[in-house]
Protein backbone atom coordinates (compact mmCIF):
# COMPACT_ATOMS: atom_id res chain seq x y z
CA UNK A 1 0.00 0.00 0.00
CA UNK A 2 1.30 3.43 -0.92
CA UNK A 3 0.20 6.43 1.14
CA UNK A 4 0.88 10.00 0.04
CA UNK A 5 0.84 12.56 2.85
CA UNK A 6 0.44 16.16 1.77
CA UNK A 7 2.36 18.56 3.95
CA UNK A 8 2.43 22.32 3.84
CA UNK A 9 5.10 24.46 5.36
CA UNK A 10 3.56 27.31 7.36
CA UNK A 11 4.93 30.08 9.56
CA UNK A 12 5.54 28.85 13.08
CA UNK A 13 3.36 31.24 14.98
CA UNK A 14 3.44 29.79 18.45
CA UNK A 15 4.60 32.97 20.08
CA UNK A 16 2.52 35.45 18.20
CA UNK A 17 1.34 38.38 20.23
CA UNK A 18 -0.93 41.18 19.15
CA UNK A 19 -0.05 44.81 19.41
CA UNK A 20 -2.71 46.04 21.83
CA UNK A 21 -2.87 49.46 20.14
CA UNK A 22 -3.04 48.49 16.50
CA UNK A 23 -4.19 44.88 16.70
CA UNK A 24 -1.38 43.99 14.34
CA UNK A 25 0.34 40.66 14.76
CA UNK A 26 3.82 40.76 16.24
CA UNK A 27 5.42 37.58 15.03
CA UNK A 28 8.52 36.36 16.80
CA UNK A 29 10.33 34.53 14.10
CA UNK A 30 10.27 30.88 14.94
CA UNK A 31 10.93 29.87 11.38
CA UNK A 32 8.66 27.63 9.38
CA UNK A 33 7.03 24.46 10.60
CA UNK A 34 4.98 21.64 9.14
CA UNK A 35 1.30 22.59 9.31
CA UNK A 36 0.21 20.98 12.60
CA UNK A 37 -2.75 19.08 11.14
CA UNK A 38 -0.48 17.69 8.41
CA UNK A 39 1.64 16.24 11.21
CA UNK A 40 -1.47 14.40 12.35
CA UNK A 41 -1.93 13.16 8.77
CA UNK A 42 1.68 11.97 8.71
CA UNK A 43 1.32 10.26 12.07
CA UNK A 44 -1.81 8.47 10.84
CA UNK A 45 0.09 7.24 7.78
CA UNK A 46 2.90 6.02 10.02
CA UNK A 47 0.40 4.33 12.31
CA UNK A 48 -1.00 2.44 9.31
CA UNK A 49 2.56 1.59 8.28
CA UNK A 50 3.23 0.12 11.71
CA UNK A 51 0.05 -1.95 11.62
CA UNK A 52 0.38 -3.48 8.15
CA UNK A 53 3.00 -5.03 5.96
CA UNK A 54 4.29 -3.33 2.86
CA UNK A 55 3.20 0.20 3.47
CA UNK A 56 5.18 2.98 1.88
CA UNK A 57 4.66 6.55 3.11
CA UNK A 58 5.63 9.43 0.84
CA UNK A 59 5.53 13.10 1.85
CA UNK A 60 4.48 15.51 -0.89
CA UNK A 61 4.79 19.26 -0.60
CA UNK A 62 4.55 22.28 -2.85
CA UNK A 63 6.42 25.43 -1.97
CA UNK A 64 9.71 27.27 -2.20
CA UNK A 65 12.90 25.22 -2.04
CA UNK A 66 13.06 25.85 1.68
CA UNK A 67 10.04 23.54 1.98
CA UNK A 68 12.52 20.71 1.46
CA UNK A 69 13.10 21.00 5.19
CA UNK A 70 9.50 19.96 5.83
CA UNK A 71 9.88 16.84 3.71
CA UNK A 72 13.16 15.94 5.41
CA UNK A 73 11.41 16.39 8.72
CA UNK A 74 8.69 14.00 7.59
CA UNK A 75 11.36 11.46 6.64
CA UNK A 76 12.99 11.96 10.04
CA UNK A 77 9.65 11.12 11.59
CA UNK A 78 9.36 7.92 9.60
CA UNK A 79 8.25 8.65 6.03
CA UNK A 80 9.99 6.57 3.38
CA UNK A 81 10.64 9.49 1.09
CA UNK A 82 8.93 12.30 -0.65
CA UNK A 83 8.82 14.81 -3.44
CA UNK A 84 8.84 18.59 -3.54
CA UNK A 85 6.99 20.62 -6.16
CA UNK A 86 8.88 23.82 -6.60
CA UNK A 87 9.51 26.43 -9.21
CA UNK A 88 8.38 29.79 -10.43
CA UNK A 89 5.43 28.34 -12.34
CA UNK A 90 3.74 27.39 -9.07
CA UNK A 91 4.02 30.80 -7.41
CA UNK A 92 0.75 32.62 -6.87
CA UNK A 93 -1.39 29.49 -7.20
CA UNK A 94 -4.78 29.61 -5.51
CA UNK A 95 -6.39 26.48 -4.10
CA UNK A 96 -7.55 25.17 -7.50
CA UNK A 97 -4.15 25.60 -9.16
CA UNK A 98 -2.43 24.10 -6.11
CA UNK A 99 -4.79 21.12 -6.20
CA UNK A 100 -4.08 20.65 -9.91
CA UNK A 101 -0.32 20.48 -9.27
CA UNK A 102 -0.58 18.17 -6.27
CA UNK A 103 -3.05 15.89 -8.06
CA UNK A 104 -0.62 15.63 -10.98
CA UNK A 105 2.19 14.76 -8.59
CA UNK A 106 0.11 12.02 -6.96
CA UNK A 107 -0.70 10.59 -10.39
CA UNK A 108 2.96 10.69 -11.33
CA UNK A 109 3.99 8.87 -8.15
CA UNK A 110 1.61 6.14 -9.29
CA UNK A 111 -0.26 3.42 -7.41
CA UNK A 112 -1.18 5.70 -4.51
CA UNK A 113 -3.97 4.00 -2.52
CA UNK A 114 -4.53 6.61 0.12
CA UNK A 115 -3.90 10.36 0.27
CA UNK A 116 -3.86 11.97 3.70
CA UNK A 117 -3.65 15.64 4.65
CA UNK A 118 -4.67 18.03 7.41
CA UNK A 119 -8.22 19.39 7.28
CA UNK A 120 -6.76 22.87 6.74
CA UNK A 121 -3.52 24.78 7.10
CA UNK A 122 -2.98 27.33 9.83
CA UNK A 123 -2.07 30.11 7.39
CA UNK A 124 -4.69 30.04 4.61
CA UNK A 125 -7.29 28.09 6.59
CA UNK A 126 -9.33 27.30 3.51
CA UNK A 127 -9.58 23.52 3.86
CA UNK A 128 -10.21 23.44 0.10
CA UNK A 129 -7.07 21.99 -1.38
CA UNK A 130 -7.66 18.43 -0.14
CA UNK A 131 -11.18 18.02 -1.56
CA UNK A 132 -10.15 19.78 -4.79
CA UNK A 133 -7.32 17.27 -5.25
CA UNK A 134 -9.79 14.42 -4.78
CA UNK A 135 -12.10 15.99 -7.37
CA UNK A 136 -9.22 16.41 -9.80
CA UNK A 137 -8.13 12.81 -9.31
CA UNK A 138 -11.73 11.57 -9.43
CA UNK A 139 -11.45 9.70 -6.14
CA UNK A 140 -13.78 9.85 -3.10
CA UNK A 141 -13.01 12.23 -0.25
CA UNK A 142 -13.85 12.34 3.42
CA UNK A 143 -13.12 15.38 5.57
CA UNK A 144 -12.85 16.22 9.31
CA UNK A 145 -11.83 12.65 10.06
CA UNK A 146 -10.94 11.77 13.64
CA UNK A 147 -10.83 8.01 13.27
CA UNK A 148 -9.62 5.85 10.42
CA UNK A 149 -9.70 2.08 9.95
CA UNK A 150 -7.94 0.73 6.92
CA UNK A 151 -8.78 -2.51 5.16
CA UNK A 152 -7.23 -3.75 1.93
CA UNK A 153 -9.58 -1.98 -0.42
CA UNK A 154 -11.59 0.43 1.75
CA UNK A 155 -11.42 2.74 4.75
CA UNK A 156 -13.98 3.32 7.45
CA UNK A 157 -13.86 6.82 8.86
CA UNK A 158 -15.49 8.82 11.60
CA UNK A 159 -16.03 12.50 10.79
CA UNK A 160 -16.50 15.26 13.35
CA UNK A 161 -19.61 17.16 12.23
CA UNK A 162 -22.04 19.63 13.81
CA UNK A 163 -23.26 18.12 17.06
CA UNK A 164 -21.88 14.64 16.50
CA UNK A 165 -20.04 12.17 14.33
CA UNK A 166 -20.65 10.53 10.96
CA UNK A 167 -19.39 7.08 10.10
CA UNK A 168 -18.74 6.49 6.43
CA UNK A 169 -17.05 3.80 4.40
CA UNK A 170 -15.21 4.65 1.18
CA UNK A 171 -13.39 2.52 -1.34
CA UNK A 172 -9.70 3.06 -2.00
CA UNK A 173 -8.09 4.95 -3.55
CA UNK A 174 -9.42 7.86 -1.51
CA UNK A 175 -8.36 11.16 0.00
CA UNK A 176 -8.92 11.78 3.70
CA UNK A 177 -8.47 15.06 5.56
CA UNK A 178 -7.85 14.67 9.28
CA UNK A 179 -8.46 16.75 12.39
CA UNK A 180 -6.29 17.02 15.47
CA UNK A 181 -8.24 14.52 17.53
CA UNK A 182 -7.13 11.60 15.35
CA UNK A 183 -3.79 10.99 17.06
CA UNK A 184 -0.80 12.44 18.86
CA UNK A 185 1.99 13.23 16.38
CA UNK A 186 5.33 11.57 17.06
CA UNK A 187 8.81 13.00 17.00
CA UNK A 188 11.81 12.54 14.73
CA UNK A 189 14.01 9.63 15.77
CA UNK A 190 17.79 9.57 15.67
CA UNK A 191 17.88 6.93 12.94
CA UNK A 192 15.18 8.89 11.15
CA UNK A 193 17.31 12.01 11.23
CA UNK A 194 20.21 10.09 9.74
CA UNK A 195 17.94 8.74 7.00
CA UNK A 196 16.58 12.20 6.36
CA UNK A 197 20.08 13.61 6.00
CA UNK A 198 20.92 11.01 3.35
CA UNK A 199 17.52 10.95 1.66
CA UNK A 200 17.43 12.12 -1.92
CA UNK A 201 14.15 13.96 -2.44
CA UNK A 202 13.36 14.84 -6.04
CA UNK A 203 12.20 18.34 -6.91
CA UNK A 204 9.57 18.41 -9.65
CA UNK A 205 8.66 21.41 -11.74
CA UNK A 206 5.71 22.08 -14.04
CA UNK A 207 7.38 20.16 -16.90
CA UNK A 208 7.85 17.07 -14.75
CA UNK A 209 4.11 17.11 -14.03
CA UNK A 210 3.17 17.61 -17.66
CA UNK A 211 1.36 20.83 -16.79
CA UNK A 212 1.54 24.00 -18.80
CA UNK A 213 2.30 27.32 -17.09
CA UNK A 214 -1.27 28.39 -18.01
CA UNK A 215 -2.64 25.77 -15.63
CA UNK A 216 -0.55 26.88 -12.67
CA UNK A 217 0.34 29.95 -10.66
CA UNK A 218 -1.66 33.12 -11.09
CA UNK A 219 -2.57 32.20 -14.68
CA UNK A 220 -4.13 28.93 -13.60
CA UNK A 221 -5.99 30.51 -10.69
CA UNK A 222 -9.61 31.63 -11.08
CA UNK A 223 -9.45 33.85 -7.99
CA UNK A 224 -7.63 37.14 -7.46
CA UNK A 225 -6.82 38.91 -4.23
CA UNK A 226 -8.17 42.45 -4.56
CA UNK A 227 -6.89 43.82 -1.29
CA UNK A 228 -5.53 42.89 2.10
CA UNK A 229 -6.23 44.91 5.21
CA UNK A 230 -6.05 44.70 8.98
CA UNK A 231 -9.30 43.82 10.70
CA UNK A 232 -10.69 46.52 12.92
CA UNK A 233 -10.62 45.38 16.49
CA UNK A 234 -13.13 47.93 17.60
CA UNK A 235 -14.08 46.38 20.89
CA UNK A 236 -13.79 48.65 23.87
CA UNK A 237 -13.44 46.54 26.95
CA UNK A 238 -15.31 47.28 30.15
CA UNK A 239 -12.98 45.86 32.77
CA UNK A 240 -14.02 45.11 36.33
CA UNK A 241 -12.06 43.64 39.17
CA UNK A 242 -13.55 40.88 41.23
CA UNK A 243 -13.90 41.80 44.91
CA UNK A 244 -16.07 40.52 47.71
CA UNK A 245 -18.97 42.90 47.06
CA UNK A 246 -20.52 41.08 44.10
CA UNK A 247 -20.27 44.27 42.09
CA UNK A 248 -18.38 42.79 39.11
CA UNK A 249 -20.95 40.04 38.56
CA UNK A 250 -23.81 42.52 38.91
CA UNK A 251 -22.22 44.78 36.33
CA UNK A 252 -21.83 41.79 34.02
CA UNK A 253 -25.50 40.86 34.37
CA UNK A 254 -26.51 44.44 33.69
CA UNK A 255 -24.23 44.53 30.65
CA UNK A 256 -25.75 41.32 29.25
CA UNK A 257 -29.28 42.54 29.94
CA UNK A 258 -28.52 45.82 28.14
CA UNK A 259 -27.36 43.86 25.14
CA UNK A 260 -30.53 41.78 25.34
CA UNK A 261 -28.56 38.55 25.65
CA UNK A 262 -29.35 37.16 29.08
Amino acid sequence: MRIAVLIKQVPGTDNVKMDPETGVMIRTNKGNIINPLDENALEEALRIKRSREDVQVLAVSMGPESAMKAIKEAVAMGADGGVLLSGRAFAGSDTIATARALAAAISKLGDVNLVLCGERATDGETGQTGPMIAATLGIPVQTYVQRLEVADDAVKVERVVEGGFEQVKVQLPALITVVKGINEPGFPTLTGKVRARDAVVPVWGADDLGLSPEELGLKGSPTRVVKIFSPKLSRSTLLHRQDNTGRAVNELLKFLADRDIV
Binding site: V141, E166, R224
Partner: protein, 345 residues
Protein backbone atom coordinates in the same frame (compact mmCIF):
# COMPACT_ATOMS: atom_id res chain seq x y z
CA UNK B 1 -16.81 30.35 -20.77
CA UNK B 2 -19.14 33.19 -21.69
CA UNK B 3 -19.78 34.71 -18.33
CA UNK B 4 -22.71 36.74 -19.68
CA UNK B 5 -24.72 33.52 -19.82
CA UNK B 6 -24.69 33.26 -16.06
CA UNK B 7 -27.38 35.15 -14.20
CA UNK B 8 -28.80 35.17 -10.69
CA UNK B 9 -27.68 34.28 -7.21
CA UNK B 10 -27.98 30.74 -5.84
CA UNK B 11 -27.50 29.63 -2.26
CA UNK B 12 -27.09 26.06 -1.08
CA UNK B 13 -29.64 25.29 1.61
CA UNK B 14 -28.98 22.61 4.20
CA UNK B 15 -31.35 20.12 5.78
CA UNK B 16 -31.03 17.47 8.42
CA UNK B 17 -33.56 14.65 8.62
CA UNK B 18 -35.85 16.60 6.32
CA UNK B 19 -35.78 19.79 8.41
CA UNK B 20 -34.29 22.93 6.95
CA UNK B 21 -31.23 23.96 8.97
CA UNK B 22 -31.32 27.56 10.29
CA UNK B 23 -28.02 28.38 8.58
CA UNK B 24 -30.02 28.29 5.33
CA UNK B 25 -31.87 31.45 6.42
CA UNK B 26 -28.58 33.27 7.04
CA UNK B 27 -27.52 32.41 3.49
CA UNK B 28 -30.88 33.61 2.15
CA UNK B 29 -30.31 36.94 3.90
CA UNK B 30 -26.87 37.26 2.28
CA UNK B 31 -28.16 36.03 -1.05
CA UNK B 32 -31.16 38.39 -1.09
CA UNK B 33 -28.86 41.34 -0.46
CA UNK B 34 -26.55 40.36 -3.33
CA UNK B 35 -29.43 39.60 -5.71
CA UNK B 36 -31.07 42.96 -4.97
CA UNK B 37 -27.81 44.80 -5.57
CA UNK B 38 -27.52 43.06 -8.94
CA UNK B 39 -31.23 43.24 -9.74
CA UNK B 40 -31.45 39.47 -10.31
CA UNK B 41 -33.33 36.45 -8.92
CA UNK B 42 -32.36 34.57 -5.81
CA UNK B 43 -32.64 30.80 -5.91
CA UNK B 44 -31.99 28.18 -3.26
CA UNK B 45 -30.89 24.66 -4.01
CA UNK B 46 -31.50 22.00 -1.40
CA UNK B 47 -30.67 18.31 -1.70
CA UNK B 48 -32.44 15.35 -0.14
CA UNK B 49 -35.45 13.21 -0.74
CA UNK B 50 -38.08 14.34 1.73
CA UNK B 51 -37.83 17.89 2.93
CA UNK B 52 -40.55 19.59 4.95
CA UNK B 53 -41.82 23.06 4.41
CA UNK B 54 -39.95 24.26 1.34
CA UNK B 55 -42.25 27.30 1.21
CA UNK B 56 -40.36 28.55 4.26
CA UNK B 57 -37.42 29.15 1.92
CA UNK B 58 -39.64 31.37 -0.22
CA UNK B 59 -40.87 33.24 2.88
CA UNK B 60 -37.22 33.85 3.76
CA UNK B 61 -36.41 35.59 0.52
CA UNK B 62 -35.88 33.09 -2.31
CA UNK B 63 -37.61 33.57 -5.67
CA UNK B 64 -37.04 29.95 -6.64
CA UNK B 65 -36.33 26.72 -4.82
CA UNK B 66 -34.65 23.81 -6.54
CA UNK B 67 -35.35 20.70 -4.54
CA UNK B 68 -32.90 18.19 -5.92
CA UNK B 69 -33.91 14.62 -5.22
CA UNK B 70 -32.63 11.22 -6.21
CA UNK B 71 -31.72 7.87 -4.71
CA UNK B 72 -28.09 8.94 -4.34
CA UNK B 73 -29.02 11.97 -2.25
CA UNK B 74 -30.69 10.36 0.77
CA UNK B 75 -27.86 11.35 3.13
CA UNK B 76 -24.83 13.57 2.75
CA UNK B 77 -22.08 11.98 0.72
CA UNK B 78 -19.57 14.30 -0.93
CA UNK B 79 -19.42 12.58 -4.32
CA UNK B 80 -23.15 12.29 -5.15
CA UNK B 81 -23.89 15.75 -3.67
CA UNK B 82 -21.14 17.36 -5.72
CA UNK B 83 -22.21 15.64 -8.94
CA UNK B 84 -25.81 16.75 -8.44
CA UNK B 85 -24.74 20.34 -7.76
CA UNK B 86 -22.42 20.49 -10.76
CA UNK B 87 -25.33 19.33 -12.91
CA UNK B 88 -27.73 21.84 -11.35
CA UNK B 89 -25.31 24.74 -11.81
CA UNK B 90 -24.77 23.74 -15.43
CA UNK B 91 -28.54 23.71 -15.97
CA UNK B 92 -29.39 26.90 -14.08
CA UNK B 93 -26.21 28.93 -14.60
CA UNK B 94 -26.18 31.25 -11.57
CA UNK B 95 -23.48 33.94 -11.60
CA UNK B 96 -23.00 33.55 -7.84
CA UNK B 97 -23.25 30.35 -5.81
CA UNK B 98 -22.75 30.47 -2.04
CA UNK B 99 -22.96 27.89 0.73
CA UNK B 100 -22.41 27.88 4.47
CA UNK B 101 -18.93 27.13 5.76
CA UNK B 102 -20.25 24.12 7.65
CA UNK B 103 -18.63 20.69 7.49
CA UNK B 104 -20.98 19.98 4.57
CA UNK B 105 -20.39 23.24 2.70
CA UNK B 106 -16.65 23.19 3.21
CA UNK B 107 -16.53 19.66 1.82
CA UNK B 108 -18.87 19.79 -1.14
CA UNK B 109 -18.14 23.28 -2.50
CA UNK B 110 -14.45 22.56 -3.29
CA UNK B 111 -15.61 19.51 -5.25
CA UNK B 112 -18.16 21.57 -7.16
CA UNK B 113 -15.66 24.37 -7.85
CA UNK B 114 -13.07 21.90 -9.11
CA UNK B 115 -15.74 20.20 -11.23
CA UNK B 116 -16.77 23.53 -12.78
CA UNK B 117 -13.20 24.84 -12.96
CA UNK B 118 -14.13 28.04 -11.18
CA UNK B 119 -12.88 29.85 -8.09
CA UNK B 120 -13.99 29.34 -4.51
CA UNK B 121 -13.29 31.48 -1.46
CA UNK B 122 -13.54 29.83 1.95
CA UNK B 123 -15.18 31.02 5.12
CA UNK B 124 -16.11 34.56 4.09
CA UNK B 125 -17.39 36.96 6.72
CA UNK B 126 -18.40 39.66 4.25
CA UNK B 127 -19.88 39.52 0.75
CA UNK B 128 -20.56 42.52 -1.42
CA UNK B 129 -21.02 43.53 -5.04
CA UNK B 130 -18.52 45.76 -6.76
CA UNK B 131 -20.57 48.72 -8.00
CA UNK B 132 -18.75 49.15 -11.27
CA UNK B 133 -17.84 45.62 -12.30
CA UNK B 134 -21.00 44.04 -10.82
CA UNK B 135 -18.94 41.16 -9.49
CA UNK B 136 -18.78 39.48 -6.10
CA UNK B 137 -16.30 40.75 -3.53
CA UNK B 138 -15.49 37.96 -1.09
CA UNK B 139 -13.87 39.02 2.16
CA UNK B 140 -12.39 36.52 4.58
CA UNK B 141 -10.10 36.45 7.57
CA UNK B 142 -6.75 34.71 7.11
CA UNK B 143 -3.64 34.01 9.15
CA UNK B 144 -5.60 33.44 12.30
CA UNK B 145 -7.85 36.43 11.73
CA UNK B 146 -4.90 38.81 11.69
CA UNK B 147 -5.52 39.96 8.18
CA UNK B 148 -8.60 40.29 6.04
CA UNK B 149 -8.39 39.53 2.33
CA UNK B 150 -10.90 40.56 -0.32
CA UNK B 151 -11.00 38.17 -3.25
CA UNK B 152 -12.79 38.16 -6.58
CA UNK B 153 -13.39 35.61 -9.32
CA UNK B 154 -13.19 37.72 -12.49
CA UNK B 155 -13.02 35.27 -15.39
CA UNK B 156 -15.10 32.21 -14.52
CA UNK B 157 -18.64 31.52 -13.32
CA UNK B 158 -20.22 30.96 -10.97
CA UNK B 159 -18.38 33.04 -8.41
CA UNK B 160 -18.34 30.73 -5.42
CA UNK B 161 -17.86 31.24 -1.70
CA UNK B 162 -18.58 29.59 1.59
CA UNK B 163 -19.82 31.89 4.34
CA UNK B 164 -19.02 31.58 8.02
CA UNK B 165 -22.13 30.46 9.91
CA UNK B 166 -23.66 33.12 12.17
CA UNK B 167 -21.82 35.92 10.39
CA UNK B 168 -25.18 37.19 9.13
CA UNK B 169 -28.60 37.32 10.73
CA UNK B 170 -31.30 34.95 9.48
CA UNK B 171 -33.48 36.42 6.76
CA UNK B 172 -36.66 38.12 7.84
CA UNK B 173 -39.73 35.91 7.41
CA UNK B 174 -42.46 37.24 5.14
CA UNK B 175 -45.45 34.99 4.51
CA UNK B 176 -46.72 37.23 1.74
CA UNK B 177 -43.75 36.37 -0.44
CA UNK B 178 -44.34 34.07 -3.39
CA UNK B 179 -42.01 32.03 -5.49
CA UNK B 180 -41.52 28.88 -7.46
CA UNK B 181 -40.65 25.50 -6.00
CA UNK B 182 -39.34 23.11 -8.58
CA UNK B 183 -38.29 19.52 -8.05
CA UNK B 184 -35.26 18.33 -9.95
CA UNK B 185 -35.43 14.60 -9.94
CA UNK B 186 -31.98 13.28 -10.67
CA UNK B 187 -33.24 9.74 -10.45
CA UNK B 188 -30.79 8.65 -13.08
CA UNK B 189 -27.79 9.66 -10.95
CA UNK B 190 -26.24 6.42 -9.77
CA UNK B 191 -25.91 5.70 -6.07
CA UNK B 192 -22.22 5.96 -5.29
CA UNK B 193 -20.42 2.68 -5.58
CA UNK B 194 -17.44 3.97 -3.64
CA UNK B 195 -19.00 5.91 -0.75
CA UNK B 196 -21.41 4.49 1.78
CA UNK B 197 -22.99 6.29 4.72
CA UNK B 198 -23.04 4.07 7.80
CA UNK B 199 -24.32 6.06 10.78
CA UNK B 200 -24.70 9.39 12.53
CA UNK B 201 -23.80 9.30 16.21
CA UNK B 202 -24.74 12.34 18.31
CA UNK B 203 -21.96 13.58 20.60
CA UNK B 204 -23.19 12.83 24.12
CA UNK B 205 -20.84 15.48 25.54
CA UNK B 206 -22.58 18.23 23.54
CA UNK B 207 -25.95 18.83 25.15
CA UNK B 208 -26.03 21.90 22.94
CA UNK B 209 -24.28 21.63 19.59
CA UNK B 210 -21.31 23.99 19.63
CA UNK B 211 -21.87 25.22 16.07
CA UNK B 212 -25.54 25.99 16.67
CA UNK B 213 -25.27 27.45 20.17
CA UNK B 214 -26.30 31.06 20.75
CA UNK B 215 -24.06 31.10 23.79
CA UNK B 216 -20.77 29.29 24.31
CA UNK B 217 -19.01 29.01 27.65
CA UNK B 218 -15.39 28.05 27.10
CA UNK B 219 -12.76 27.12 29.64
CA UNK B 220 -8.98 27.16 29.65
CA UNK B 221 -6.05 25.96 31.71
CA UNK B 222 -6.85 28.57 34.36
CA UNK B 223 -9.47 26.13 35.67
CA UNK B 224 -6.57 24.04 36.95
CA UNK B 225 -8.13 20.56 36.95
CA UNK B 226 -10.77 18.44 35.25
CA UNK B 227 -12.98 19.13 38.25
CA UNK B 228 -12.34 22.84 37.87
CA UNK B 229 -13.46 22.63 34.25
CA UNK B 230 -16.80 21.26 35.46
CA UNK B 231 -17.64 24.78 36.60
CA UNK B 232 -17.66 25.81 32.95
CA UNK B 233 -19.93 22.90 32.08
CA UNK B 234 -22.27 23.87 34.93
CA UNK B 235 -22.50 27.47 33.80
CA UNK B 236 -23.11 26.29 30.24
CA UNK B 237 -25.95 24.06 31.38
CA UNK B 238 -27.50 26.92 33.30
CA UNK B 239 -27.34 29.18 30.26
CA UNK B 240 -28.38 26.51 27.76
CA UNK B 241 -24.99 27.08 26.19
CA UNK B 242 -22.46 24.98 24.30
CA UNK B 243 -19.20 24.03 26.01
CA UNK B 244 -15.97 25.20 24.39
CA UNK B 245 -12.38 24.55 25.37
CA UNK B 246 -8.93 25.89 24.70
CA UNK B 247 -6.37 23.63 23.07
CA UNK B 248 -4.59 23.13 26.40
CA UNK B 249 -7.76 21.78 27.98
CA UNK B 250 -8.28 19.30 25.15
CA UNK B 251 -4.63 18.23 25.30
CA UNK B 252 -5.04 17.67 29.04
CA UNK B 253 -8.09 15.52 28.39
CA UNK B 254 -10.57 17.65 30.34
CA UNK B 255 -12.71 17.98 27.21
CA UNK B 256 -12.85 16.02 23.95
CA UNK B 257 -11.56 17.37 20.66
CA UNK B 258 -14.96 18.43 19.20
CA UNK B 259 -15.05 21.08 21.95
CA UNK B 260 -11.79 22.71 20.90
CA UNK B 261 -12.15 26.30 19.68
CA UNK B 262 -9.35 27.84 17.65
CA UNK B 263 -7.01 27.41 14.76
CA UNK B 264 -6.76 23.62 15.00
CA UNK B 265 -10.32 23.28 16.28
CA UNK B 266 -13.65 24.90 15.49
CA UNK B 267 -14.39 28.46 14.42
CA UNK B 268 -17.50 29.85 16.11
CA UNK B 269 -19.44 33.10 16.14
CA UNK B 270 -22.10 32.83 18.84
CA UNK B 271 -24.10 35.77 20.16
CA UNK B 272 -22.20 35.46 23.43
CA UNK B 273 -18.83 33.84 24.09
CA UNK B 274 -17.74 33.58 27.70
CA UNK B 275 -14.03 32.73 28.05
CA UNK B 276 -13.08 31.49 31.50
CA UNK B 277 -9.45 31.03 32.48
CA UNK B 278 -8.35 31.34 28.85
CA UNK B 279 -5.26 33.46 28.27
CA UNK B 280 -6.17 34.23 24.66
CA UNK B 281 -3.38 32.94 22.48
CA UNK B 282 -3.71 34.05 18.89
CA UNK B 283 -4.61 30.48 17.94
CA UNK B 284 -7.63 30.58 20.24
CA UNK B 285 -8.68 34.09 19.25
CA UNK B 286 -8.75 32.95 15.61
CA UNK B 287 -11.63 30.64 16.45
CA UNK B 288 -13.86 33.03 18.38
CA UNK B 289 -13.04 36.67 17.79
CA UNK B 290 -15.97 37.19 15.43
CA UNK B 291 -18.41 36.34 18.24
CA UNK B 292 -21.01 39.06 18.69
CA UNK B 293 -20.27 39.69 22.36
CA UNK B 294 -17.23 38.40 24.23
CA UNK B 295 -16.94 38.18 28.00
CA UNK B 296 -13.63 37.19 29.59
CA UNK B 297 -12.93 36.07 33.12
CA UNK B 298 -9.26 35.76 33.98
CA UNK B 299 -6.99 36.31 36.97
CA UNK B 300 -4.28 37.97 34.91
CA UNK B 301 -5.19 41.58 34.02
CA UNK B 302 -2.62 41.40 31.20
CA UNK B 303 -4.20 38.33 29.61
CA UNK B 304 -4.56 38.83 25.88
CA UNK B 305 -8.16 37.61 25.94
CA UNK B 306 -9.17 40.99 27.41
CA UNK B 307 -8.04 42.68 24.19
CA UNK B 308 -10.90 41.09 22.27
CA UNK B 309 -13.42 41.17 25.12
CA UNK B 310 -16.38 43.54 25.43
CA UNK B 311 -16.60 42.87 29.12
CA UNK B 312 -13.89 41.51 31.39
CA UNK B 313 -13.69 40.46 35.00
CA UNK B 314 -10.21 40.29 36.48
CA UNK B 315 -10.60 37.64 39.12
CA UNK B 316 -10.46 34.02 40.14
CA UNK B 317 -12.87 31.83 38.17
CA UNK B 318 -13.49 29.81 41.30
CA UNK B 319 -14.95 32.91 42.94
CA UNK B 320 -16.57 34.57 39.93
CA UNK B 321 -18.38 31.57 38.44
CA UNK B 322 -20.17 30.38 41.60
CA UNK B 323 -21.22 33.96 42.25
CA UNK B 324 -22.44 34.36 38.69
CA UNK B 325 -24.37 31.10 38.77
CA UNK B 326 -25.90 32.03 42.11
CA UNK B 327 -27.03 35.36 40.71
CA UNK B 328 -28.48 33.74 37.59
CA UNK B 329 -30.42 31.18 39.60
CA UNK B 330 -31.80 33.86 41.93
CA UNK B 331 -33.02 36.13 39.20
CA UNK B 332 -36.44 34.73 38.28
CA UNK B 333 -37.28 37.53 35.86
CA UNK B 334 -34.14 36.84 33.92
CA UNK B 335 -34.88 34.13 31.48
CA UNK B 336 -32.53 32.75 28.91
CA UNK B 337 -33.83 32.40 25.45
CA UNK B 338 -33.86 28.83 24.29
CA UNK B 339 -32.33 29.72 20.99
CA UNK B 340 -33.92 32.09 18.54
CA UNK B 341 -37.23 31.44 16.83
CA UNK B 342 -35.30 30.05 13.90
CA UNK B 343 -33.83 27.24 15.93
CA UNK B 344 -37.32 25.99 16.63
CA UNK B 345 -37.81 25.19 12.98
Amino acid sequence: MDIQNYKGVMVLGEQKDGHIRPVTFELLNRGRDLADKLGVELSCSILGNEIEDLTEIIYRGADKVFHVAGPALAGFLPGPYARALVRLVQEERPEIFIAAATTTGRTVMPLVAAGLKTGLTADCTLLDIDDKEKILLQTRPAIGGNIMATIKTPFTRPQMATVRPRSARPAHRDESRTGLISVKNYGDSPVSAVERFLAYVPDATQEVSIEDADIIVAGGKGLKTRDGFKLVEELARLLGAGVGASRDVVDLGWASYPHQIGLSGKTVSPKLYIAVGISGKVQHLAGMQTSETIVAINRDPEAQIFQVADFGIVGDAFEVLPELMGALKNAPGRRLREGSEDNAL
